[in-house]
């Protein structure tokens, strides 16, 4: 062994210590939650009720330990990628909603909505695995019972058309909200074309 060389055990120890400190630097916070903007760009809030305190996150890329023991801290993009890259990549295609409108009284779609139906089918077929809800609505003209039935007839008619357009094997939940869920609030006995609708959600 020359004078410039350190004994092997010392080198080993130094390396191990360096490695351990590097690893702990990489590991970052242990159990934590981080707030990020929603896909639509809006930013909400996240609260933590921990065993050792409560925290509230209000800024993007802010994090808090899940035990609530420390005030919120900033989390780097690199850290988020390291901890959540796989979970983020596994995120399914977000749900998509379509609104179809009807002529007065029956289950006949307006001309524009007939054209939209084809786009619904294309979007549904583009998803790897799709389930959908088809919810019928009416305006407030006529009795509530009759509107409940009318809205269900609308949803059922649309679901049947979709099945005939290539979605025969798609899981569909068909429902009626009658006149209980107005898109445009109106008094009773009001004809309102925007309330005569079927809402389709692709998931």
């Amino acid at each position: 062994m020359s004078r410039n060389q350190l004994p092997a055990p010392v080198v080993k120890l130094a390396c191990a210590a360096l490695l351990a400190s590097l690893l702990s630097a990489c590991a970052g916070p242990q159990s934590y939650v981080a707030l990020v903007p929603s896909p639509d760009g809006s930013l909400g809030k996240v609260s933590v009720q921990g065993q050792r305190g409560d925290q509230l996150l209000t800024r993007a890329k802010q994090g808090a330990l899940l035990d609530g023991s420390k005030p919120p801290f900033d989390v780097s993009d690199e850290q988020l990628q390291r901890d959540f890259g796989a979970a983020m990549r596994a995120r399914p295609v977000l749900p998509e909603q379509f609104l179809l409108y009807f002529e007065t009284g029956g289950s006949e779609l307006t001309a524009e909505s007939k054209a939209l139906l084809q786009r619904v089918v294309q979007s549904a077929l583009a998803r790897a695995s799709v389930d959908m809800s088809v919810i019928g609505h009416s305006d407030t003209q006529g009795a509530a019972d009759a509107n409940e039935a009318l809205a269900l007839a609308r949803a059922t008619a649309i679901a049947e058309q979709l099945r005939g357009m290539g979605l025969a094997n798609t899981a569909m939940a068909i429902e009626s909200h009658g006149e209980r869920n107005l898109l445009v609030p109106t008094p009773d006995e009001t004809a309102e074309p925007r309330n005569r609708r079927v809402e389709i959600t692709l998931r």
Binding site: Q30, V46, Q49, L65, L66
Partner: protein, 153 residues
């Protein structure tokens, strides 16, 4: 003729009796698996199935991903949750009846990583969404968040 009528009545009654059961079985599902890479499982009432796109998730279902695997779920209210490797999550409660004001989404994340995107439940009733973890409870005010739970050493 009378006999035939009786038989058909009996058959109708049997068919009607079977209906609510079918409806209940249908409504048990609260979401579907949409994405899977690697090995992942959904266990519902003791039945463990290998997860694939289209696998149903119900109240009480436990989701598990293997090391290196990931999985994504879309719930009926459009809440989207996806998980990274070596993750365990349970759906403790799920209520989605907006007309009756019945809204709840409670899950437990025992370990692993989660990417959560809020749906209708969080929009209508923010207090109704919680994610329990071994050291604390996450509450949501309509947003996207990420959570990591390290398994106890």
């Amino acid at each position: 003729m009378r006999l035939l009528q009786n038989i058909s009545h009996a058959l109708c009654a049997a068919a009607l009796a079977a209906l609510p059961v079918a409806a209940a079985a249908q409504s048990a599902g609260v979401g579907f698996v949409k994405t899977v890479t690697g090995d992942a499982w959904v266990t519902t009432t003791g039945q463990r199935v290998k997860a694939a796109p289209g696998t149903e998730v119900a109240i009480g279902s436990q989701i598990k991903t293997a090391p290196g695997a990931s999985l994504g779920i879309t719930f009926k209210d459009n809440t989207v949750m996806s998980f990274g490797p070596d993750t365990e999550m349970t759906v403790d409660a799920y209520l989605y009846a907006p007309a009756q004001g019945q809204l709840q989404l409670s899950t437990s994340l025992a370990k692993g990583s989660l990417n959560y995107v809020s749906g209708v439940i969080a929009k209508l009733k923010p207090d109704a969404v919680t994610v329990k973890t071994p050291s604390g409870i996450i509450g949501v005010r309509g947003t996207q968040f990420l959570a990591k739970v390290e398994a106890p050493q």
